[in-house]
């Protein structure tokens, strides 16, 4: 779907992309990186809107330097920022955008009705966009990217500004774009945990360089870490400690979740399989404690940085890690 070869983009002051070579196949691909990592620059180059300083890139087998127009006809783009005029209805706006993609008037209207329904906008699509919630606006933005039935869509931070429920809905929708609609997706985010749930493949960039490109299963295999939090009881005034000792006596290595929110109350351990969950349940029940939470700790972008960057930026990665965890995953 997308192939880049030592793609570089230099601005007078910064290097946005530094010899990036990556090969992206069909399916849902996550592009992860901190703000300013070069994600948006990459999308601009892939749409043929900004020439690369060096290297080459192909989208759907078309060279971005020469076939920008052809690429843009077959690709959809959902920008990160607001892009909707408030004084027109979603229907009018998306019909107009469909025609801008080259759809004849009748087809534009039909596709608009279909697409808005698929993204979950019903009666409100006849009302001016100005009165929409953030979640509804994101849906309209998504609809305008899908209305011409592209082969590939670029979604730039589609979950930005959404509450947890809206976020989950949007992620589900992104998944469906591939499974139900048959459209490949390149979705950017600064939260790796979020993309793990939706993507087949994750590409991590930092400072314009490729940090890692692998299928999501690779990530999940290495991230079967469980976080456990328990209540205290009269019998065990320090429930966390009691659990740690009990688990330790059964041969399970447990570490404190230092650096995480609620440090001292959270235990981290590596799940070996289904048995580990059962074991924890039984141990907690035997101790008579309440199980507050038992969840899979997801790898966050900062941890990927740590793996690759162990010696250099440990301190900054720690900060970033706290932040990433704070965002939830």
């Amino acid at each position: 779907m997308i192939a880049t070869e030592s793609l570089s983009k230099r601005f007078p002051r910064v290097t946005a992309l530094d010899r990036l070579s990556v090969d992206i196949g069909p399916g849902v691909t996550g592009l992860v990186g901190a703000n300013g990592a070069g994600k948006s620059t990459l999308i601009k180059i892939l749409l043929g809107l900004s020439p690369a300083s060096e290297g080459r890139a192909e989208v759907l087998g078309l060279d971005v330097a020469t076939k920008g127009g052809d690429i843009r006809e077959r690709v959809g783009y959902m920008p990160e920022h607001d892009c909707l005029p408030p004084d027109v209805s979603a229907t009018e706006f998306v019909v107009h955008m469909a025609r801008m993609s080259g759809l004849p008037p009748t087809a534009a209207r039909e596709r608009t009705a279909d697409t808005l329904r698929h993204v979950g906008l019903y009666e409100e699509r006849y009302r001016p966009i100005g009165g929409y919630s953030t979640g509804m606006k994101q849906r309209v933005k998504l609809a305008q990217a899908l209305v011409h039935d592209p082969q590939l869509v670029f979604l730039d931070e589609p979950t930005n500004g959404l509450d947890p429920v809206g976020r989950d809905e949007m992620l589900g929708l992104i998944r469906r774009i591939h499974t139900d609609f048959g459209i490949s997706v390149l979705v950017t985010s600064h939260l790796l945990g979020e993309l793990e749930r939706t993507c087949d493949h994750v590409v991590v960039v930092d400072g314009g360089k490729l940090l890692r490109s692998s299928s999501t299963t690779d990530f999940t295999q290495s991230t079967a870490t469980l976080a456990i939090e328990v209540t205290d009881s009269d019998e065990h005034p320090d429930g966390t400690r009691a659990l740690r000792e009990a688990l330790h006596s059964r041969g399970v290595t447990v570490s404190e979740g230092s650096g995480l929110p609620g440090a001292g109350h959270v235990l981290l351990l590596t799940a070996q399989g289904e048995e580990t969950y059962d074991l924890i349940r039984d141990v907690v029940a035997d101790l008579g404690l309440g199980l507050v939470r038992m969840e899979q700790r997801r790898h966050h972008i900062a941890e990927v940085f740590q793996d690759n960057d162990e010696q250099t930026g440990t301190a900054s990665a720690q900060d970033a890690r706290k932040e990433a965890v704070g965002h939830g995953g």
């Binding site: 948006s40 999308i43 601009k44 749409l47 809107l49 900004s50 127009g69 052809d70 843009r72 006809e73 690709v75 959809g76 783009y77 920008p79 920022h81 607001d82 892009c83 909707l84 005029p85 408030p86 004084d87 027109v88 009018e92 107009h96 955008m97 025609r99 801008m100 993609s101 080259g102 759809l103 004849p104 087809a107 596709r111 279909d114 329904r117 698929h118 019903y122 001016p128 305008q144 011409h148 039935d149 139900d180 609609f181 048959g182």
Partner: protein, 312 residues
């Protein structure tokens, strides 16, 4: 086929269930349909943007509120022409009270107001709400966007200024005035307002494209169009009173409407509205024409430069 039939039944069922459940069952039943029809490409997209912008310039396809001003100004442009025609027919006059070429100059305040209200509407909105990147993520390119917007506002202005001339012309024929004279005057008038439309559209768009704030755009366009005219007229009047009449035509180069006045005085048989009627000679007229064409081309160039930067 079976799937679609199922989908069609869902709304009927929705009558009994809560509306939401009905709608959701519809999503699952219909499923996603891919599009295999034609994709008409860049030229079609440009035409669509043109027609959408042209309609928008009269508030068509927009809210009722945004139709008020352009329609009102359009009416204000046409009513005097209709009255003149009515008078000419009723009094069986030998000629219309105004020349075709004079009409736009007399009504220039209305035209300026129209440009000031519609040019920012056409381009500032896209900048302010950042819709521009959505256009450029599609097959059209900077030049297509600029040309479509320029052509749309020019056409809208041409409609605004040419329709009253049509009213005058039809009225003149009804009043059985001389056919050859009237046709010639009408044709000259059309050329003049076409040039005026291009010039005003260019100036209006360049000013509006600088700012994403619509209010600022409106004020700036009014300022440039009317203040320049006011200043030029005053200085011309002073020059005329001090009998340095040679300066009068040169001063006219510095405001859009006096430029048009000069061009049509020199080439289109118009009577100059300059103080003392000191319009430019044919030689000066060439300078006027070059100025007008230069401004139009310059506006286009500036717009291209502006939008090359906007990108995504």
């Amino acid at each position: 086929m079976a799937v679609e039939q199922h989908g069609a039944q869902a709304p009927a069922l929705a009558g009994e269930h809560p509306a939401r459940a009905g709608e959701q069952s519809r999503i699952h039943n219909i499923g996603y349909r891919s599009y295999d029809g034609p994709r008409l490409g860049r030229a079609y997209a440009r035409r669509s943007l043109y027609s959408q912008s042209l309609r928008g310039a009269y508030g068509l396809g927009r809210s009722a509120k945004s139709k008020v001003l352009p329609m009102l100004l359009f009416a204000v442009m046409c009513v005097p022409a209709a009255i003149m025609v009515a008078v000419a027919v009723a009094t069986q006059a030998n000629d219309l009270p105004v020349k075709y070429t004079d009409y736009a100059v007399i009504m220039q305040a209305v035209i300026s107001l129209y440009v000031a209200s519609q040019a920012p509407q056409s381009v500032s909105r896209d900048l302010r709400f950042k819709t521009v990147p959505l256009y450029f993520s599609r097959p059209i390119e900077t030049a297509d966007y600029v040309r479509a917007k320029f052509a749309a506002l020019t056409s809208a202005l041409f409609v605004l200024t040419a329709v009253p001339l049509v009213v005058l012309y039809v009225g003149a024929l009804l009043a059985e005035l001389d056919f050859t004279d009237q046709t010639k005057g009408f044709a000259q008038g059309l050329v003049s307002v076409a040039l005026l439309s291009l010039l005003f559209a260019g100036i209006g768009l360049v000013i509006s494209a600088i700012t994403p704030r619509r209010g600022f755009g409106i004020a700036a366009v009014i300022a440039v169009l009317t203040i320049s005219y006011g200043a030029v007229s005053v200085v011309q009047a002073i020059a005329d009173v001090q009998s340095s009449t040679g300066a009068v035509p040169w001063l006219g180069l510095f405001s859009p409407i006096t430029l048009i006045d000069g061009v049509q005085t020199a080439f289109l048989g118009a009577t100059s509205a300059f103080p003392g009627g000191h319009g430019p000679s044919s030689g000066q007229g060439v300078v006027y024409l070059l100025f007008v064409l230069g401004l139009i081309a310059g506006s286009y160039g500036l717009l291209m430069r502006r939008y090359r930067k906007v990108g995504l």
